[in-house]
């Protein structure tokens, strides 16, 4: 069971969303309002447990009077605002952003993106066969997780999760700039030489599968990864007294990865190395 704290009551504010009156608590983002109204605005870099970085720009919407489009995920709703989520202008930008991304990185393990590419009629191929791609080799330098930056959309979520928003280990950051910007540890060293404590909180927030469990990476390579054959069981971590919630992903009676519920008010999806990776003892059946 997950307990959701109610928090202090907030004032409601009114604005128009696609021509209809919308009422949301003060402090809500346009995206919150869209979701409450059942509108589907695509998002990639937005993360439910992190402050929005608004870097991907697929969630852009039109706000009356604004010179440019605004990111729904981070712009707070203001009283009297007139927001349109589905104009030709907003759709055009979303489509181009999806094309730019899909032409430069591998989105094959990004949930939902295939649907959006179709919905927006995005044609990533039209930039030609010579369009620059990331073309990164997966970094396999430890037994716990793999960094495959060919799939990275540079959403900064792993950096924020490893840094001051959750883990405070500051093992990774963005290095370089422009198209050459990459997530890296200092001097681009292997992860094992970094400050990483293998909490895996970065994997938890990565929206594209650029960061993944070594177990998942190996199974995908072997062609045995099959999400439809997996069951998920949420239980309590047995290592220490904190009692974090773990979700065990099990395929063929083997734990293949461990996540944690984001709506848990204590851990918000974060774990430590033991809860995240220390599951071998469960499977030790000798």
């Amino acid at each position: 069971m997950t307990v959701t704290p109610l928090g202090i009551p907030r004032r409601m504010l009114e604005f128009t969303l696609d021509g209809e009156e919308a009422r949301v608590p003060e402090g809500s983002t346009i995206l919150d309002a869209c979701r409450a109204a059942g509108k589907d605005v695509p998002t990639l870099c937005e993360g439910d447990t992190l402050r929005p970085k608004n870097a991907c720009r697929v969630c852009v919407v039109e706000v009356e009077g604004a010179r440019t489009l605004v990111p729904a995920c981070s712009r707070k709703a203001e009283p009297g605002m007139e927001v349109r989520t589905d104009t030709e202008r907003a759709r055009h930008s979303r489509k181009i952003v999806l094309e730019l991304l899909a032409s430069s990185v591998d989105l094959s393990t990004t949930p939902k993106v295939a649907g959006w590419l179709k919905e927006y009629a995005a044609k990533p191929d039209r930039f030609g066969p010579d369009a620059a791609r990331l073309n990164e080799e997966p970094k396999v330098d430890n037994d716990l997780y793999v960094r495959d930056y060919d799939k990275c959309i540079l959403c900064y979520k792993c950096v924020d999760a490893c840094g001051d928003q959750w883990q405070n280990s500051f093992a990774i950051s963005v290095a370089g700039r422009g198209f050459d910007a990459r997530i890296a540890v200092e001097h681009d060293a292997p992860l094992t030489d970094s400050a990483c404590v293998y909490c895996g909180n970065c994997i938890e927030v990565c929206p594209t599968g650029a960061l993944s469990f070594k177990s998942e990476f190996d199974m995908r390579a072997a062609g045995t990864w099959d999400e439809s054959a997996q069951t998920e069981t949420t239980t309590v971590c047995a290592y220490c007294g904190v009692g974090c919630n773990l979700t065990l992903h099990v395929q063929d009676n083997e734990i293949v990865k461990v996540t944690s519920p984001h709506d848990n008010p204590v851990t918000h999806g974060n774990l430590c190395i033991k809860g995240r990776f220390g599951y071998q003892h469960v499977q030790n059946r000798d």
Partner: protein, 607 residues
């Protein structure tokens, strides 16, 4: 914070460079040898973390002394400042002037940007590279605009060591550039800034009247030529009075955004949160722009005085002057001017005996055009990557260090002096209704007398070009720099005011007027502009990070094509450009397509 440091050690030299900036370390917690006391208490932590903003100066210290930043040096700097090494690495790799790989102590930056390219930069580069091959001890780097466009082609040599040596060669020949690189200490001195002001000494100049007239290193000379009368008047008026004058003068920001200065000052002054900061944006990196350099080199005290007035009016006690890393002479002159002003009570605890405390600190940029964007500049000063922040919140509310901040560029600030000495009504009477006062233009390219020109707002483009002596065969004019737009040779009657350019569907931008004659291959020029934006994108948002690359690719494909052969790629450029303008986080991505679009639409490039 759980910091982890590697075991690479700094060399003696690297340690000395960092310690010269930060002082010697006090305990093993920040990189000294371990003492008995260290076993009993831990210092560093919070105290050191407050000095994160010294990261950029620290990186400069090492890079200046050694020429590059090794793992050991970066680690030591991180220990001293309690900065996570991964973050410091991310910051160091953001700036073009730093190297994290070994390289020769001397770097020769050869400008290959718009004005220099037209003046023969490719041949110059090839010649220099032929002379300075491997093993010459010089690394030759192709550089974006060095802000010396009036003397194109330009080269800047930087030789690491203690002291750091620099030399400029412009207009550069292969011999001179090689000489500057091989012995920057004995290279011939640069011509005075006044040489960039063809009008120098003429009557009626308001912003440039002291350039070439005063000795830029003499405070007495500055005062003898009217210096510090504006600050005295400011103290008479009081902060609110100063803001009123500036508001009534109609002054708007000269950096490109054209926001009313008085309104910005008022908004900052009225914030209850303290402290307030003043930031002078002297990170002039728009290709084709060099007016701020000329002002700072020719009349440095004017900027010091203007910053003091702005600080006084907005309730700031500290002003940061963020100076382009490529401006060594401006740096020296301003350092000197600030020290003199401090010694004479014109900066410090009690400015002019009026009980107002104000001081200025110079921060050097390190080669990143994006740091001219105001919020990126704050991040850069604070020791983070120079990535723009999303707005709102706006700087007047949450700017530098999260505090109310007023940011103005050099030219804007210097305008405050005549406003106060002549009074708002007289100032507002100059120019047109919406664009008041004098304006500086950086005229370069195909003209007889390239340089900085001061004209009252309202002059036409043709008049400015006539002043500079436009050469035969003018094909187009690039207004506002790489982020601006082209106009045709038959559109020279456009009044160069904010409203006039807007009506003509173009922009004044930062005041660049670059004359392009028909000997310049337009597609190459456009490619260079695209390349510039691809290089300078911070990489934060997708439309700009990938869009600038896709645009450059498309321009490459059509560089020798026209008509139907180019049509498909032009359509692609338009679609991508529209999304970049609409969905990028900051002005860089939003304007990156402007110039190319205008060349297609107005000049018929690729037709």
């Amino acid at each position: 914070m759980d910091l982890h440091f590697g075991d690479s050690k700094p060399t003696h030299e690297e340690r000395a460079a960092v310690d010269a900036l930060l002082g010697p370390p006090e305990s093993s917690w920040e990189g000294a040898d371990r003492s008995d006391a260290d076993l009993r208490w831990a210092r560093g932590g919070r105290e050191a973390r407050d000095r994160r903003d010294l990261l950029l100066p620290g990186l400069h210290a090492v890079n200046d002394r050694i020429g590059w930043i090794s793992e050991g040096a970066l680690d030591y700097l991180c220990r001293r400042l309690t900065v996570p090494p991964a973050e410091a690495y991310g910051v160091a790799t953001f700036y073009a002037m730093f190297s994290l790989k070994p390289r020769p102590a001397t770097v020769l930056h050869v400008c290959t940007d718009l004005a220099c390219a037209a003046a023969g930069a490719p041949e110059l580069c090839a010649g220099i590279e032929a002379r300075l091959g491997l093993g010459s001890g010089v690394s030759v780097e192709r550089s974006p605009c060095l802000g010396l466009c009036e003397r194109a082609p330009a080269a800047l040599a930087i030789k690491a060591g203690d002291p750091l040596r620099t030399a400029v060669s412009a207009p550069a020949t292969v011999e001179e550039a090689v000489l500057a690189a091989s012995s920057p200490g004995s290279a011939p001195e640069e011509p005075p800034a006044a040489l960039a002001v063809p009008q120098a000494g003429q009557d009626g100049l308001m912003l440039l009247h002291r350039v070439g007239v005063v000795d830029p290193s003499s405070l007495d000379d500055y005062r003898a030529h009217g210096g510090y009368t504006a600050l005295r008047r400011a103290f008479e008026l009081g902060p609110a009075g100063v803001i009123r004058e500036v508001t009534d003068s109609g002054l708007v920001g000269r950096g490109g955004a054209a926001f009313p200065t008085g309104r910005k000052w008022q908004a900052t002054a009225s914030q209850p949160d303290r402290p307030h900061y003043l930031v002078c944006n002297a990170d002039e990196s728009e290709p084709g722009t060099f007016k701020d350099r000329v002002l700072m080199e020719g009349d440095p005290y004017a900027l010091v005085e203007a910053m003091t007035i702005a600080g006084y009016a907005t309730g700031a006690h500290k002003g940061y002057l963020y100076l382009r890393g490529e401006y060594p002479r401006a740096l020296h002159l301003l350092e000197h001017a600030i020290a003199q002003a401090r010694a004479r009570g014109l900066l410090g605890d009690d400015v002019l005996g009026q009980g107002y405390a104000f001081d200025i600190e110079i921060r050097r940029g390190a080669g990143a055009y994006i740091c001219g964007e105001e919020t990126a500049l704050f991040n850069s000063i604070e020791g983070y990557r120079g990535e723009p922040r999303s707005k709102p919140p706006f700087p007047v509310e949450k700017g530098l260090f999260g505090k109310p901040t007023v940011e103005n560029n050099v030219e804007t600030l210097v305008n405050v002096l005549p406003i106060l000495t002549m009074g708002a009504p007289a100032y507002a009477a100059i120019g047109t209704g919406r664009s008041t006062g004098p304006k500086l233009f950086c005229v370069s390219g195909s003209v007889e007398r390239p340089g900085v020109y001061e004209v009252p707002f309202g002059a036409t483009l043709g008049e400015v070009l006539t002043l500079a002596g436009v050469r035969e065969g003018l094909r187009a004019v690039l207004l506002g720099g790489a982020a601006g737009g082209f106009v045709r040779a038959d559109e020279l009657d456009i009044p160069i005011t904010f409203e006039g350019t807007r009506e003509a569907g173009t922009t004044l931008g930062s005041g660049v007027v670059m004359a392009i004659d028909d000997s310049v291959p337009l597609p190459r020029l456009l490619l260079r502009i695209a390349e510039f934006f691809r290089d300078e994108s911070c990489g934060q948002c997708v439309p700009c990070r990938v869009g600038t690359v896709r645009q450059e690719e498309a321009l490459h494909r059509i560089v020798e094509r026209t008509g139907a052969d180019a049509a498909g790629d032009i359509a692609l450029l338009r679609e991508v450009g529209r999304a970049m303008r609409d969905a990028s986080i900051c002005g860089l991505g939003q304007t990156a397509w402007n110039a190319v679009e205008s060349a297609i639409d107005r000049l018929g490039a690729y037709e």
